[in-house]
Symmetry: C2
Subunit: 154 residues, 2 copies
């Protein structure tokens, strides 16, 4: 994973990709986010689902909390003792296109023997979800459509 020093250095680069990479540019962090998006919110559930060491999970969750991507929220079920769950903030929920774009790439280029193991559906209509690039004039941008990066001087 990124060292704290690298994370600080990247986070201050004048590039939004670098600033995002400073936060989520780590495989385990991405998989923690994937799991929270899929509704796993408790530490034990995440640890079991991910099959990672508890200290590694603690470390990634701490970073996500520091970056205000995730909040740790207390809750109590019936008469049982207080527990905590991890919830995505608004900034965290805005990472869905990143995770979804990764899923789409893996489905296409690393499908595994039986094809894509998970289908993400729009809950309203049951249709599968895709990621698209479009411009403000609503043109769909295909793989080899040229894009131009313009430095704004900001």
């Amino acid at each position: 994973m990124l060292s704290t020093m690298d994370r600080k250095a990247l986070g201050s680069v004048r590039c939004s990709v670098a600033r995002t990479a400073a936060v989520v540019g780590d495989a385990w962090t991405m998989l923690v986010l994937r799991d929270i998006f899929r509704g796993r919110r408790r530490f034990d559930d995440l640890a079991e689902s991910l099959g990672i060491a508890r200290n590694v999970l603690t470390n990634r969750l701490t970073t996500l909390i520091d970056e205000e991507i995730v909040v740790r929220v207390p809750y109590r079920e019936g008469g049982s003792r207080e527990r905590h769950e991890y919830q995505l903030t608004e900034a965290g929920r805005d990472l869905r296109p990143v995770i979804q774009a990764m899923l789409a790439w893996g489905d296409t280029h690393r499908p595994g023997p039986g094809g894509p193991p998970v289908r993400v559906e729009h809950d309203g209509c049951g249709e599968p979800v895709r990621v698209e690039l479009r411009c403000a004039a609503d043109h769909l941008i295909t793989r080899d459509e040229p894009l131009r990066s313009v430095h704004t001087g900001a």
Copy 2:
């Protein structure tokens, strides 16, 4: 970065997000890809733009070549000696939505004092590019629209 062992382990998990994270789940790898997308293709240009140690860049490029995201292509300018440049394969070019989704998140949630430093435009019409989630019934999926992950048994 991911160890070779972690990369192999993640790459064999039955999840397309994990398989993608095994390839690009590393901040420097993402920034190398960003630069190649923006037209930097030579080792020296990449090293200078990224400001990373040459051995780190070599390491990331080697992984990207092993994963068939990038190819190393010889070329010769005028009468000068043969040189090499790095080009994205089809699989590499399909990572654009991942990088673009990261850019969009950074623009919104880590904008920096002067706002987004780079505007990505559709080369045809000059309009800014955005990332969208849509379902096959063409519904635009907003931040808090519920999605459902269905295990296909694959």
